[in-house]
């Protein structure tokens, strides 16, 4: 990796905001199109790069390869019918859509859900975080050439999906949360199988920690990459591990304890250096935290009791006019649904706030400047981006 600052004089002058002054006619620059099958993300997205040598001078994010108009489609669906759609907005971590959608609907309808349902939802969300981080870690390692990590992490992620399958009947799209509650509690013997899964993950994590985090290549390429200054956190709407790596303890689970998070014991994980390595390290610790939280839940969760409130006929369910926003802490940061109702049986508007919306566009475009082209994938993964939540 060339240290661009050592040769600054060979590169363009800077604007006050840190962007490079580029004169495309000068013949010094090349435009490169990266994507839409981009190694830096799960899904499709493109980067339009202006490079000089192999250094990125300017980056523009292009999305739209996955747009299916979900927000609009939901306006034509009864509230319950939005559920099978909404999960598709964040494929690798769909449960947050279920939670945010159901809880905005419940809030606007004035519906209280049973305690067991709250526990169940918390478990599903934490399991979802766990499997999403496991998938991410493979991507991050892969982007720096460590292909084997993804094989390992996907093996244990599959075990988590097995546990999802047991509870919900689905591996990827669980659709277990329903306005009013959930579709069932954990099956018999679940705790035991969950514990075995957690232990297997811990075992694999040990290997990952040795091979990835104690790895000179990984360290060399990730330390210092994609530095997010704490002052940028609010300006760029940075949340989740990306913000926590900058030392700002933003975590919706603590800041706005939802469901059962206030009955669980945990501390917010923060870092200092705010680079790709620190972010990776935070996510690594998050995996252990999720494991710990799931263990706590296995002890505290009720194994029986009501899990579904009485709801009116879902075919005609009308919800009074209103507007609300519900957020939750997904692996990538603040995930939220802004739901507006108009008294009819259909949502007036649902707007999904996915963390990638800010991280992958404005922030990525800023961070990519002066980065070596070989590091774009690593940089993007370090921001943890899911394109479908950008374009919904």
């Amino acid at each position: 990796m060339t240290d661009i600052n050592k040769h600054r004089d060979k590169f363009p002058q800077k604007n006050p905001d840190g962007t490079n002054i580029i004169d495309l006619k000068s013949g010094k620059f090349i435009k490169v199109w990266q994507g839409p099958n981009h190694p830096g993300i799960t899904g499709n997205m493109s980067l339009e790069l202006t490079i000089q040598g192999d250094e990125i001078m300017e980056c523009k994010t292009h999305v739209g390869y996955l747009h299916r108009g979900f927000e609009k489609l939901m306006e034509r669906r009864r509230f319950i019918q939005c559920l099978p759609i909404c999960v598709r907005i964040a494929v690798p971590e769909p449960d947050f859509n279920e939670y945010c959608l159901t809880s905005t609907v419940e809030e606007l309808a004035g519906l209280k859900i049973p305690d067991a349902a709250k526990w169940m939802r918390t478990l599903l969300l934490e399991m979802s975080r766990l499997q999403s981080f496991l998938m991410w870690i493979g991507g991050q390692a892969g982007a720096f050439g460590l292909g084997i990590i993804g094989q390992w992490s996907n093996y244990v992620r599959d075990l988590v999906l097995d546990r999802f399958e047991e509870i919900t009947g689905g591996r990827i799209y669980h659709m277990h949360m329903i306005p009013g509650g959930v579709r069932g509690l954990t099956p018999d013997g679940f705790e035991k199988r969950m514990e075995e899964t957690l232990q297997e993950i811990e075992k694999v994590m040990k290997d990952i920690e040795t091979t990835m985090f104690n790895n000179s290549i990984f360290k060399k390429r990730s330390i210092g990459l994609g530095y997010i200054d704490p002052s940028m956190v609010f300006e760029y709407g940075v949340t989740g591990p990306n913000a926590r790596a900058a030392g700002i303890p933003k975590d919706v689970r603590k800041d706005y304890p939802y469901l059962k998070y206030n009955e669980l014991d945990f501390d917010v994980i923060t870092g200092k250096n705010s680079d790709a390595f620190t972010r990776a390290d935070i996510r690594r610790k998050e995996i252990h935290l999720s494991i710990d939280l799931i263990r706590q839940m296995m002890v505290k969760m009720p194994k029986s009791g009501d899990y579904m409130a009485k709801v009116p006929n879902v075919l005609h369910w009308k919800i009074p006019k209103g507007e609300t926003y519900v957020r939750a802490e997904c692996t990538r940061g603040e995930f939220g649904y802004h739901t507006v109702t108009d008294g009819s049986g259909y949502p007036r508007r649902i707007n999904v706030r996915g963390p990638s919306y800010t991280h992958a566009v404005a922030l990525m475009e800023k961070l990519a400047i002066d980065v070596n082209i070989a590091d774009t994938a690593g940089l993007m993964v370090s921001l943890h981006t899911y394109p479908p939540e950008i374009e919904r």
Binding site: G64, K72, G237, H338, V340, T358, A362
Partner: protein, 175 residues
């Protein structure tokens, strides 16, 4: 939160205040006052996090509602600032100078709702829809079903029956 609303009321034209939750308020402010109020909220009241900026089309009433959802990270409170803008003159002052991410929201709103934010960076570049030649698709008068029926073809050979009509045909066709 109540105090904050009282303070804001003194300076700005505010209406429709809804205490949605203990820490979540929605209110409507006059279009003219909106950006100065949002600036004040960011600079003086601690609402430093722009959670989202979105629009709702109230087609029947003839206006777009913009919701600027602001978050006070220290006090852990949310304020949804609603602004109603004329559907026929869909234009709003840009806030790209307040948050770097605002430009992205505004670009999307231009594309999906046809709401213009003059001066916002790249606001006229397509964001998600390349080569779109219809009305902005998130407007309520854009009919997704019609569009998909015109654009795509259904799988042939499908036919359904309405139970009541089918029963009439079978059981009492003369009546």
């Amino acid at each position: 939160m109540k105090n904050l609303i009282e303070r804001l009321k003194k300076q700005f034209k505010i209406s429709e205040v809804v205490f949605q939750r203990d820490n979540e308020i929605f209110l409507t402010v006059e279009k003219m006052d909106a950006v100065s109020m949002i600036t004040q909220l960011r600079d003086l009241e601690g609402f430093t996090h722009l959670v989202l900026l979105t629009a709702v089309d109230w087609l029947e009433e003839g206006y777009f509602q913009l919701t600027y959802l602001l978050n006070n990270y220290e006090k852990k409170t949310d304020l949804g600032v609603r602004v109603k803008i004329d559907r026929d003159k869909a234009e709003m002052t840009s806030i790209h100078h307040l948050w770097k991410t605002a430009a992205t929201y505004q670009r999307e709103l231009k594309e999906m709702f046809g709401i213009d934010f003059p001066g916002s960076p790249r606001v006229d570049e397509s964001f998600i829809l390349e080569g779109w030649d219809n009305i902005p698709p998130y407007r309520r008068d854009f009919d997704t079903k019609k569009y998909s029926e015109e654009t795509y073809f259904p799988r042939p050979g499908r036919k359904t029956h309405d139970p009541a009509e089918y029963m009439k045909k079978k059981l009492y066709p003369e009546d």
